[in-house]
Symmetry: C2
Subunit: 431 residues, 2 copies
């Protein structure tokens, strides 16, 4: 704790920082009003157990571009903020309002992804230090005994088969009071978790087999409007516009006319806003699978031609999402430039904010020196570095300028919590 390293912080290119400074200024000035509004939101709608939100900071605009309800990457957070995570976990479990002592985490099946398994080791350690007994209950189909995975950090995780016993699931005789899903269920809702009497969070209905990004961003649009009204700002400054298409078959080329017209419309809408704010860069949109994660099936599009002229490789990439699920629904999201760079080479950096219950507990930057400012950094085959935030995002300082580090990070925490409210409403709409 005492020797927490000094984490490097990406520098925001300041050329276009006018309007965002405005947003940040509004946010720091109206701290008490904003937190009052958040408190009111959480009294109305319970926050998800945990979440991470990918942000893009264009200088003139800052917006969430993805909200993950099964966050990996806890191993990338600044170890100095582990106590904050521990306290937040205690609060999150308290909010479930049942007596919980024993917890099973259900991780992803991809045991060869050592980064992911480091995340699981960190998450398990945090929950144990919060005062719970924790086991890992795996959904790996053919697992019939404990699998130990040794990690580069010197730790190891013990995956045990999750088994059904009547209305309960157990792990080697360990009968949990609570299951925490860290598996996004992209391959579908597993039978073994259906109709169990134990608490389970997040709800399996929020897995990527049923969740749609367009639904989330529909809720977000409404949240952004309410928040913008509170601060008297243009909601566009914090909200990425989007459109979505129904059934598309990229390989057969079916449904692409919907795609083309939506891309054209959205690009025109963005251009209109860019004109309003004197943004000189060309607009772009991002195509993503509407149900999906891990940045598969993600494409940067600058014009309708880009969609019309997809080559076979691009079509194949767009078709396949995680767990081999075929992409049939697509969200077309306003592309938000990232104006944050790291180091002398101007490496592009993208902040990811982590939350447990309604508490922001830190985050990290994805940085990548081979990507441009209009490309998604969370894409297949990507080798990005992760730089932990040196700030926990909850400790603004009104005596410093709006873009000073504690305030920049606080603003990140505010925008990420707007996405968290959207996720909370999304969850509430299911129950």
């Amino acid at each position: 704790m005492a020797t927490s390293p000094v984490y490097p912080v990406p520098h925001l290119t300041t050329a276009m920082s006018g309007p965002l400074q405005d947003v940040e200024g509004h946010i720091i000035d109206q701290l008490a009003k904003i937190e009052s509004w958040f408190r009111c939101q959480w009294r109305k709608t319970a926050a998800p157990f945990y979440a991470s939100v990918d942000l893009r900071n264009a200088g003139f605009k800052i917006a969430p571009v993805d909200t993950n309800l099964f966050p990996a990457g806890f191993n990338n957070l600044n170890p100095a903020f582990e106590p904050l995570c521990i306290q937040a976990i205690q609060l999150a479990v308290e909010h479930l309002s049942n007596a919980v002592d024993r917890i099973v985490i259900v991780p992803e099946n991809h045991t060869r992804n050592k980064f992911y398994m480091e995340n699981i080791a960190t998450l398990q350690g945090l929950i144990e230090r919060a005062g719970f007994e924790v086991r890992l209950g795996s959904l790996i189909p053919d697992l019939d005994t404990t699998m130990e995975v040794e990690l580069a950090s010197g730790r190891s995780v013990h995956l045990q088969p999750l088994r059904r016993q009547g209305k309960r699931v157990v792990v080697d005789g360990f009968d949990p009071d609570l299951l925490i899903l860290n598996n996004d269920l992209a391959a579908g809702r597993p039978e073994i978790l259906e109709d169990i009497e134990q608490l389970i969070t997040p709800l399996p209905q929020l897995g990527w087999s049923s969740r749609l990004k367009s639904v989330h961003f529909g809720f977000y649009r409404q949240v952004a409007r309410e928040f913008a009204e509170l601060l008297d700002i243009d909601p566009w400054l914090i909200d990425p516009m989007f459109r979505n298409c129904g059934e598309i078959d990229f390989m057969k080329g079916e449904g692409t006319s919907c795609l083309s017209s939506n891309v054209a419309t959205l690009l025109a809408e963005i251009q209109k806003k860019y004109n309003e704010y004197a943004v000189k860069q060309p607009p772009f949109v991002i195509l993503k699978a509407d149900a999906g994660t891990y940045g598969m099936g993600v494409m940067t599009v600058h014009s309708v031609k880009d969609v019309m002229g997809l080559n076979r490789k691009q079509r194949t990439r767009m078709s396949a999402s995680k767990a081999g699920q075929k992409v049939t629904k697509v969200i077309i999201q306003e592309g938000v430039y990232t104006d944050e760079t790291w180091g002398n080479k101007g490496t592009v950096a993208e902040p990811v904010v982590y939350m447990i219950d309604h508490s922001v507990v830190g985050g990290f930057y994805r940085v990548h020196d081979k990507r441009a400012s209009n490309e998604n950094l969370n894409a297949p085959g990507m080798r990005f570095e992760r730089l932990a935030f040196d700030d926990c995002c909850i400790s603004p300082d009104k005596h410093q300028s709006p873009d000073a580090h504690p305030n920049r990070f606080y603003t990140y925490g505010v925008i990420a919590r707007l996405a968290l409210i959207a996720a909370a409403r999304e969850k509430a709409s299911l129950v």
Copy 2:
């Protein structure tokens, strides 16, 4: 945040650390069981808004010796844990279950104590950063306008007169939803706070004008028994024995026979336990005002003779407590040696643990190079240094030895929370 200094940590003299290592070992081994028990306690009895607990660590025993429900000293905590305080304040206010946006802190009147005023500045800053509007509402009788107090830290505090308006109290037109007392009301419960409709925490009944240490330690004795049963240890290892006397007039020498007989009985009881645990040091007891604070009227007593032969100066000191209240009730508490020392000179160190709601948020050591290991470090005229903990007390590490720093601090946090449960029950008994 990034450049948090490395705080020096006092070193525990290890000569007599056998039994305590046992206690610490039990605590680290049974983390999940202990935290489960704490969760159960907080579901039954709400924690106070905040508290600080003075601990004494004798190597063979660790025990709370004072529980302050109006804690000063927030300025002495490690700045690295401010986010933890901010999160805990948010939780504490959430637990009050009313919508709270505006808060008035009611500080002590002694504006010349710059250390105390630094505490107020820190507390106000933390609550503001937690997202509330905060003013300072002073009880200073003749204050009729804002008094600005400039501090060595470069900050300043603005004390404003607290005024009554019907069933509410306000500060210059600022009508708070919640009053937080940081004034221990040693001079009595102020009329202005009686029968107001606003939330007030802690309850004025918990001020030192009505609270008795002997009542608190009566509750603590019961808590320590329950906890010792959970861990299967001797409750004495975590509980300071005590006896109390009713009306005593030190100046007139009235009531001293009760004092003498209680001192003799308690010294004999301690000797018996010392024999059981092969403790070679002589037993001692501490005399304190039963209602009081700030370590006034505190005396170390090794034998009945010490009480019989009080000179005039000692009697005068014992008679007067804070705010000039006359000491008439006395608590005789088992003296607990402090075996923690700091630096090469073997300076005596005493840990103080801070809690907000049921969360431990850090602490500091009082160190004093002119005091012996059997003397109270929080005494009048004392010049002690304060060393912030380098650990927040909530992040144990089962892979390290029970007396490794994170575990030593976790143990402090556990013992302090036992005193917090006692305070919670004390509070509940009033309502």
